[in-house]
């Protein structure tokens, strides 16, 4: 079991290059705490990431990593998990990477219910490309790419997740590390595809959705005595809340068979551990004779 210090990468010369006070730091800390508390094996835990500020997180935690191309986190993570279901797969992405260019993969990964945790850092702006509006930018937001304000309505990741078949749908806030750590641990323990959309201020390019702004808006779902996260319609209703108050916590969860549960070919051993040295194809010729 790795300690938080052992998960740190500064010792191996990898030092994070996020802006000072970036919301990503809170997410990284929550992840390290969760990984340490869960006792995750560093080699068997793979962080799969795309491109952007958020996906850089895979560099700064000392577990196995695969940094894919922009928007293409989930299919690589899926291939890895299908090939070796003994791996702990954590996918990470940003709102541009995951909800913009990668939106198609997002929908289908949830439908499939592969066992993995998907952390999306949602700061409502493209940071690494220096400040364009993202799919989750509020209507009217002004940015380098929208000097007259965003015309579209924002992408609602949680309602899309609930209706697309995700079996664990949560929202965290990078300003509340203990709460986020708890969410990550729950997501990891959940058997199925677990989405955590993490609200995160971009201190450089997003001057609206700041720490102060989030601080005044977020409230915890679990503090409501009557909230039932297995009630899909109730979850859907909450997932539309944004303008006045924003719920954080587990919106929705259900138990559903994994995609890989239905594959008898990996019942005895992961695909990656099967012997390929002497495969007999003779019986296949019959169909062509």
């Amino acid at each position: 079991m790795a300690t938080i210090k052992e998960l740190d990468t500064t010792g191996v010369g990898r030092v994070s290059d996020w802006c000072p006070a970036c919301g990503n730091f809170g997410i990284l800390m929550a992840l390290k705490q969760a990984a340490s508390e869960l006792g995750l094996d560093q080699a068997k835990t793979v962080m799969v990431a795309g491109i952007g500020c958020a996906p850089k997180m895979s560099l700064w935690i000392d577990v196995s990593g695969f940094q894919s191309i922009h928007g293409r986190t989930l299919p690589v993570a899926t291939g890895l998990k299908m090939a070796n279901h003994e791996l702990n797969v954590i996918a990470t992405s940003g709102d541009g990477d995951g909800y913009g260019i990668g939106a198609c993969h997002f929908v289908h990964a949830m439908r499939r219910n592969i066992d993995m945790t998907y952390l999306v850092h949602n700061n409502q702006v493209y940071g690494l490309t220096k400040g364009q509006a993202s799919p989750t930018s509020d209507k009217g937001s002004k940015s380098k790419s929208t000097p007259f304000g965003v015309i579209e309505v924002p992408f609602r990741p949680l309602s899309l997740a609930i209706t697309s078949g995700a079996t664990f749908v949560a929202r965290g806030y990078s300003g509340d590390i203990p709460h986020l750590k708890q969410l990550i641990m729950e997501a990891h323990k959940h058997r199925g595809f677990a989405l955590i959309d993490v609200l995160q201020p971009c201190v450089t390019f997003n001057k609206i959705n700041t720490y102060k702004w989030f601080q005044s808006k977020v409230y915890k779902l679990e503090e409501e005595a009557n909230y039932d996260p297995t009630d899909k319609m109730a979850a859907l209703k909450r997932s539309e809340e944004w303008d006045i108050k924003i719920p954080i916590g587990v919106y929705y969860r259900e138990q559903r068979e994994l995609y890989t549960d239905k594959l008898p070919e990996i019942k005895d051993a992961p695909l990656s551990k099967q012997d390929i040295s002497n495969i007999d194809i003779e019986p296949l010729y019959e169909a062509y004779s």
């Binding site: 191996v12 010369g13 990898r14 560093q42 080699a43 068997k44 793979v46 799969v48 491109i51 895979s58 560099l59 000392d62 577990v63 196995s64 990593g65 695969f66 940094q67 894919s68 191309i69 293409r72 989930l74 299919p75 690589v76 993570a77 899926t78 291939g79 890895l80 998990k81 299908m82 090939a83 070796n84 003994e86 791996l87 198609c104 993969h105 929908v107 289908h108 594959l263 008898p264 070919e265 990996i266 695909l271 990656s272 099967q274 390929i276 040295s277 495969i279 194809i281 003779e282 019986p283 296949l284 010729y285 062509y288 004779s289």
Partner: protein
């Protein structure tokens, strides 16, 4: 004996199943067969054809002349009557077709007599065709059991009864070509795509992910069909991008993985292809091309994606492009591609086209060449404590641990020996040069992929790649008959380019000519790029149709 049987009708009439059974019946009786089909991009209606060349020797392409035509509708007669040989027989249903001089076969009437569905007219025509060429009825009976057995005894018997009447109706009628009833050896009738898939399966490829696209969907079907019996995984993904990425993910986890598509799908895959190269993840991609640009002619053939495959994805990186010429070479490519991908940790593309991929031919069941084994290159299962995934080595190939065995990163960014992101100029040079170092060893690996066919003192030497091999070999036989000595220099590998072998043949050729299926003479350009020699004489085809041996000969003359 060398004749062609052809059936035509609307899509949805069971044309291709009928064609396959005819071909297999002839093959089981002792003939060699080459199947060729044409179909438009639709599910019902249109005009589909399936033709089978039947011969007493191994044949490698279709020819123009038709000797036995089955006209299920008027269009089939009208469109193909000009292809009929002088001694041809036309089987037609007098209920709906007029074919002067043809042999009427009351298909509808026979089917009605047995209370059958109209689609069973095919069986009547099929049985009558086999009767004309002397195939024993028992061969068809066995094939009906083989093909419809799963549908139950009633369906089998119903088809046999209908067929028997068709068979008996014409069995006394003369026909110039008789299939010998002597099967001494086992043959299979298989398409190029499935031949590659068979090689991949033997080679331990356990993971296929992809998206359907004509003419490459057979790969998906093959892997899906054998998922349980062969313990492999097939994932139909949301798009081609996910198709290639999942294969890369599986490859990174240590599983031999592949995807397959046509040009349009490959266009979507190109960014990920470069990622496989950058992360040095073994990957095999089959590109079964069809005429472009864009949607082009979706169900026809063309060789216009050669340059595209050679240059797909940004940046410079080594890759292997295999271009098998016939069904046996397809199996060989499927068998070797995964060894190459793992040995060199590079993407391997197998480039074919609709013509070779989709059309079946009778061959001996494939045997693994003597001495072939699975070669996983520098794969290590127990990495040392100081393991570095991208260690600098003399040959540019680093020991490869798989995810799960130790902590390491794989990044689409440039990285250092440990796999960590870097923008250091010196490290960048080292990594570029490390990947580039694989080229000379890969070059040695592909020796023998340029193959010479025909007499050493040929009057004319044809240079080609990929699927043109079959029709050219047949054209060589036609040339022999009229005293024209034709040779073929064919390559099953375009990258690394076999420069020295190719230059040697070019310098020796009395009259070098280029034959390929695209308007830009892409292969000719590649030859010139690597050898400095331009082949001026070019026969190019880009109408979606394959080369025909008769036309090649005519053009050479």
């Amino acid at each position: 004996m060398d004749f062609t049987w052809k059936i035509g009708g609307e899509a949805g009439y069971g044309i291709s199943v009928t064609g396959q059974i005819f071909s297999r019946a002839c093959m089981r009786s002792g003939a060699w067969t080459y199947d060729y089909s044409e179909y438009p991009s639709l599910i019902r209606g249109g005009h589909n054809t399936y033709q089978v060349r039947v011969a007493d020797r191994d044949v490698t392409s279709q020819t123009h002349a038709v000797h036995l035509l089955v006209a299920l509708d008027q269009k089939s007669y009208d469109r193909h009557k000009d292809e009929l040989a002088a001694d041809a027989v036309v089987l037609f249903d007098p209920a709906n077709v007029k074919a002067p001089g043809g042999l009427p076969l009351p298909m509808s009437e026979i089917v009605k007599r047995h209370n059958g569905q109209p689609v069973m007219r095919n069986m009547v025509a099929l049985a009558a065709s086999l009767a004309l060429c002397g195939v024993d009825f028992s061969v068809l009976e066995e094939l009906i059991r083989f093909s419809f057995g799963k549908k139950g005894e009633d369906v089998v018997n119903h088809n046999i009864d209908v067929s028997k009447d068709g068979y008996d109706a014409v069995k006394e009628h003369p026909f110039a070509y008789k299939v010998p009833n002597a099967t001494e050896e086992k043959r299979i009738n298989i398409g190029g795509n499935e031949s590659i898939a068979m090689g991949a399966m033997k080679s331990g490829c356990k993971f296929f992910s992809g998206y359907p696209m004509t003419p490459a969907s057979e790969f998906m079907h093959f892997y899906a069909k054998h998922e349980r019996s062969m313990n492999v995984m097939m994932k139909h993904t949301e798009d081609e991008i996910a198709g290639i990425l999942m294969a890369i993910g599986a490859g990174h986890a240590g599983v031999r993985a592949m995807t397959a598509t046509s040009g349009g799908g490959f266009a979507l895959m190109t960014e990920a292809l470069g990622m496989a190269a950058m992360t040095e993840t073994p990957l095999v991609v089959v590109v079964a091309s069809r005429p472009g640009p864009s949607t082009g002619l979706p169900t026809w053939t063309e060789q216009s994606d050669l340059r595209f495959c050679m240059h797909a994805s940004q940046g410079d990186f080594p890759r292997i492009i295999l271009t098998p010429g016939d069904h046996e070479e397809c199996f060989e490519a499927g068998l070797q591609a995964f060894n190459y991908a793992e040995k060199y940790q590079v993407p391997v593309i197998i480039l074919t086209d609709k013509y070779l991929g989709a059309n079946a031919r009778s061959v001996h069941p494939y045997k693994v060449p003597e001495g072939w084994t699975i070669d996983r290159g520098k794969l290590i299962t127990d990495p040392p404590a100081d393991y570095e995934r991208y260690a600098l080595t003399d040959d540019g190939i680093s020991p490869r641990a798989v995810t799960g065995s130790c902590v390491f990163g794989a990044f689409s960014n440039e990285h250092d020996t440990n796999g960590d992101f870097t923008e250091d100029a010196d490290m960048r040079n080292k990594m570029m040069e490390k990947r580039d170092k694989k080229l000379p060893i890969m070059q040695a690996e592909i020796e023998g992929k340029v193959r010479y066919y025909g007499p050493a003192d040929a009057d004319v030497t044809i240079f080609s790649w990929g699927s043109t091999k079959g029709p050219v070999l047949e054209a060589m036989k036609l040339g022999e008959a009229i005293g024209l000595k034709i040779a073929l220099v064919h390559t099953c590998c375009v990258l690394p380019f076999p420069t020295e072998e190719m230059r040697g043949y070019l310098e020796k050729a009395k009259r070098p000519v280029l034959i390929e299926g695209n308007i830009a003479a892409q292969f000719g350009g590649v030859i010139r790029e690597y050898t400095g020699i331009e082949i001026k004489d070019k026969y190019l085809r880009y109408d979606g149709r394959p080369f025909y041996p008769e036309q090649i000969l005519k053009w050479l003359q």
